[in-house]
Amino acid sequence: MRIFKRLITMLLAITLLSLTFVACHAKRKMEPFVMPEEFDTSREYEISFWAKNDTNMTQVGIYQKAIKDFEAIYPNVKVKLELYTNYADIYKDVINNVMTGTTPNVCITYPDHIATYMMGDNVVVPLDELLVDQKYGLGGDRIEFDSPALSEMVPEFMEECKIGETYYAIPYMRSTEACYINKTFVEKLGYTVPDVLTWDFIFEVSAAAMEKNEDGTFKVNGQDVLIPFIYKSTDNMMIQMLKQKGIDYSTQNGDILMFNDDTKNVLYTIAESASIKAFNTFARISYPANYLNAGQCIFAIDSTAGATWMGSNAPLLDISEDQLVQFETAVRIAPQYDVESPQMISQGPSICVFNKEDDQEVLASWIFAQFMLTNSVQISYAQTEGYVPVTLKAQNSAEYQDYLSREGENNDFYYDIKLKATKLLLDNTENTFVTPVFNGSMSLRNAAGELVEKVNLYARQGKKVDDAYFDSLFESVIINNKLDQRLGMSSKRDLGALPTTSVVLIAVVGAAWLVIGSCYVVGLIKEKKKK
């Protein structure tokens, strides 16, 4: 019996140890942030700030200057900057760090991303209370710099930072999409660039541009290469087309509505242009600006925040001088179905604050985040590209108004295409929209882009696009983006075998119970025999 006891003890120990290991890998629950009465300036804080720049060293310099200026005001707070060149990398790293509880303090991000970060408990700090706090809120009386009041924020941009009814971010910069046009070629083809482009106009001119000379070169540019219409962000393309047509995309609560017959009809028009190779996408051929500047593209749709790369006189170029072609550039809002009621996507980075165990550290992070809304940061960063400041305080300042009035004074700081692109958004702020944010909204956005990409490729391969194709396309896109459960579809995917660690754990627990049971039975038998 002693040997059984030892065995039981050993197995129980193994089982408990296994359970302990499992518990160690589980996430700790973070307590919600509680606003301190006062910011403790007697303490030292080090906060991390993960930011994105557009491979633009001026933007890097602005972040560095902002940190230096902030630290001069709050010498007890040290800000450690980590720079990224794209949002996807920030998202990837934040997700990895959410799992280990090592998120940054402050992060440039998109609300769609925040919705995913919130899969953990209290990971992202809700800002409702902080925004209006009398002492430390926007324009608060204990804030040591000239912070904008809540009423001085652009209301449309603030609204975009809500998830459900709660603010989880503050806007940092805003942009929209613009169509950068080789006006010279449009006119050469016998057309006039309208004030507001329509999708039909772009598809028609693009088709007309495909005419070739006998030697195989294109008539309009005399080159071997021409892709008249190139779209950078195909997710935006699909989303804007659906919105403008009044086609359902999703509900605020995350019900997915995009996969319907109206969407198919929109995709048919894209397929038609792709089938004659008049349309292509960034994902397949790289940056629209390179083709536009080389005289190989007529309509390049990209962010207003990419304006400094667009046009013959662009201050930033990614092609060699000998490839550059001289032409007149026009800038317009993204194409529309109804020119009387334009609708365009609002995009651009926001800032979120991550929760930590130390509420004072969170408050320091919030104060720094707020510093990014000051005029000096807002105006200088917006001027690096076709970005728009997110505060009315900055937009209406004499400094910014002077900047806007000097469009085209040179091909660098006052580059006309950059300022024209900026004004597109300033003039159309009330016409912007964003898609609902929920856990999974990023997957839906990816799915929207994938529809365009796949239809483009399929049509370019000369394959017949029909309803049957769309049915299979929808199914594959839904599965690829794991939207099947949200759509209430039964997933047919095989989840595969259990991981080895799980199998071992189950086996150990099972074996322990087996031995305990056996011992119990043996004990009973022995007891009976004694009796």
Binding site: T55, L83, Y84, T85, K92, Q461
Partner: protein, 237 residues
């Protein structure tokens, strides 16, 4: 006795004949390494395929960029040439199996990204077989039309003089852009952080190298308008 000798000789003759009728390359290791399954393109067929065409290749993994979101980007090679497969659909479990030399079959679509010929939208199947490529010395081909024929291969380039070292964001962490000169021409290569991140020897090495240093490098002959080798090793001379 004579009968036995005749029988033995006849048997030997038969064996000789049988041996002669075997395919000449049965024991040719190169042929075995380059053997393709049914429906798989040779390197020449792959290169001849049109952009956007569906392609199927079999090759050996020589390097990979970091796995993320069920996708992996691979540098591959067979005896005839190099391949680049961009963001192939791949589970994390399978990604862990893709060690250097692993033979894989990739089905996807041929793409051309600023001169870089690649397989896009690919799916992967791991096969039996391994082969690790020796670095091809392409030093003599720099600045010639011959160089592009070695696109995506694992290569070595010798006696390059460093002209500039620039970190993508102005400080270590992201890609490192390195300009080299040789014979009066400048070449812009890259330490790609998803291939060789800040923790790798090659990344650390560039922190100690200086303009004017003469080095030999190894890497994958990636293309971005021109040769843009993704450097995997550097040796100061």
């Amino acid at each position: 006795m004579k009968k036995i000798v005749i029988l033995v000789l006849a048997a030997v003759l038969m064996l000789g004949l049988v041996a002669c009728t075997q395919p000449a390359n049965t024991n040719d290791p190169d042929a075995e390494l380059n053997k393709k399954s049914e429906g798989v393109m040779t390197y020449a067929e792959y290169m001849a395929a049109a952009v956007d065409a569906e392609v199927v290749i079999e090759a050996y993994v020589q390097g990979n960029q970091s796995w993320w979101d069920n996708k992996i980007t691979l540098y591959l090679q067979d005896l005839d040439g190099g391949y680049f497969a961009y963001e192939v659909a791949c589970s994390e479990t399978d990604a862990a199996k893709l060690t250097k030399g692993t033979k894989v079959k990739i089905s996807g679509v041929k793409g051309d990204w600023k001169g870089e010929i690649e397989v896009m939208n690919g799916t992967i199947e791991i096969l039996e077989g391994t082969w690790v490529a020796e670095a091809t010395d392409v030093t003599a081909y720099l600045g010639t039309d011959e160089l592009i024929k070695h696109q995506n291969k694992f290569v070595t380039i010798k006696d390059l003089t460093i002209a500039a070292i620039t970190y993508k964001n102005g400080e270590p962490g992201d890609d490192i852009y390195v300009d080299f000169t040789k014979d009066g021409k400048t070449y812009s290569f890259c330490v790609e952080r998803y291939l060789t991140g800040p923790e790798t020897d090659v990344y650390k090495a560039f922190a100690t190298l200086q303009v004017g240093d003469v080095v030999d490098i190894e890497g994958f002959l990636y293309w971005y308008d021109a040769a843009n080798t993704h450097i995997t090793a550097v040796v100061k001379k």
